[in-house]
Symmetry: C2
Subunit: 236 residues, 2 copies
DNA sequence: CGGCTATTTGATCGATTTCAAGAACAGTGG
DNA sequence: CCACTGTTCTTGAAATCGATCAAATAGCCG
């Protein structure tokens, strides 16, 4: 019944679609994981998987739960740079520098596989999968750049909700109704807005009937209209 | 004498610094290039190296000149997502999807090496270098997200100028004085502003004595102050 | 020189931030 | 179970920054 939603949710040619690749990637294969000596780690909400600047020796794949990534500028201000859920990779930004370039914080009880760096390099299949995961990350950031740079506040929020819905859909979760694992402030930081603006945008989208919101529970009522607001033209 | 500038220009721990890595990367080695069958291509200003959506079979490394990358949203609006100069990689976003995810347009007479995809995959050293290049790209985008998301217009412009200066410095070019290869509109698109705002920001930075601008020639007169404006706190 | 595009500058308008306060909720300890 | 406290969320009103509209100037190329 989730698949019935796909026609309206899915985005066949968009960059986000490719993320699904990870679900079938070698990184999820059982024997490969054994071969690289993958271990397992569980985090409670609020715990850090790794810290910015910390020595990096592993990559991670989320198996359950939800995390946010926070980068900090030189001046000390923090910004959320992304959210990660099941089948997403973590820590790829550390490749080539050996240190994590952001914090990773669990927003819910979270399970990850720990994939040692060195081992990943030895296994050719993993190299390839890793490369693909990196490329995916780039496309994801690119999409974010487009959205944040050119959409007004309410449309950014709509875009954000649709993105979450698509990811839920791909993982087989309910894409029309889900709970946000992060607070308004985190969404605001991610979308480069204030938490008041997020609140107002959600209230307004609810008032016009696109969605229903109660605290952190969200229902997408009129996805088409939501997508329309989240996609409409805004040329600089 | 360029090195004398480094203390004030360089950014020892910042993500941008790592970009330099590319200069010493295997991708620049002569025999490796021969081994992957690298060819050469020259573009005149305005010519496209590749188009968004086009089948991708190569990666590119810039040897001379200057290019911009343009991504287009579903609604048709175009946005500049980056600028590339010597020692930068191009086309990495296509890895894993087989198609280019943006346009690459020369802004000046430009030379690139063409590195066939398939060959890159065979050579282990290249795989590693490639992975590093991808990670670099991610960090670069992350830095952009931080800047654009949290800085007001004038500081974004200052940040942009400093970034260009650092890249020039690393390549051994004059970091205090250079000419912009792109128009105001391209800068505006990249920084998610309007070209009028870019113009005003440059004029103002010039009025307060941080820089001198004439058309596309820029001199950085007071880098410290420029950096201060480009870094100052702006917490959401 | 004319026509073109890029750039600069001014004036106004509007979206979003900021400041401020209240309401809903969660957790705590009595 | 309930008051207490702190946090998250919502809402309002005012202030601000950048966009938009409009026009003038400056280069550039044929």
């Amino acid at each position: 019944m989730e698949t019935a939603l796909s026609p309206s949710i899915a985005h066949p040619t968009g960059p986000l679609h490719v993320m699904h690749m990870a679900s079938g990637s070698p990184l999820e294969s059982q024997w490969l994981r054994a071969r690289v000596g993958a271990t397992h780690r569980r985090l409670r909400a609020g715990q850090y998987l790794y810290y910015n600047g910390e020595r990096a020796s592993d990559l991670y794949m989320v198996r359950a739960g939800f995390l946010k990534l926070c980068a900090s500028a030189e001046d000390g201000s923090e910004r959320v740079t992304g959210f990660r859920m099941r089948s997403d990779m973590l820590g790829v930004g550390s490749i080539g520098v050996g240190r994590h370039t952001c914090d990773a914080v669990a927003l819910d009880t979270t399970d990850v596989w720990v994939l040692p760096f060195a081992a990943c390099g030895r296994v050719a299949e993993l190299q390839t999968a890793l490369t693909a995961a990196l490329a995916e990350e780039i496309r994801r950031d690119r999409a974010w750049m487009m959205a944040v740079g050119s959409l007004p506040a309410e449309q950014r929020v709509a875009h954000f909700l649709i993105d979450l819905a698509e990811r839920h859909d791909r993982l087989g979760f309910n894409a029309r109704r889900f709970t946000l694992c992060m607070g308004r402030a985190d969404i605001a930081s991610f979308l480069a807005l204030t938490h008041e603006t997020i609140s107002r945008a959600l209230s307004h989208l609810a008032k016009v009937g696109c969605i229903a919101v109660s605290r952190r529970d969200v229902q997408l009522l009129d996805i088409e209209r939501l997508r329309a607001t989240g996609t409409s033209t805004r040329v600089h």
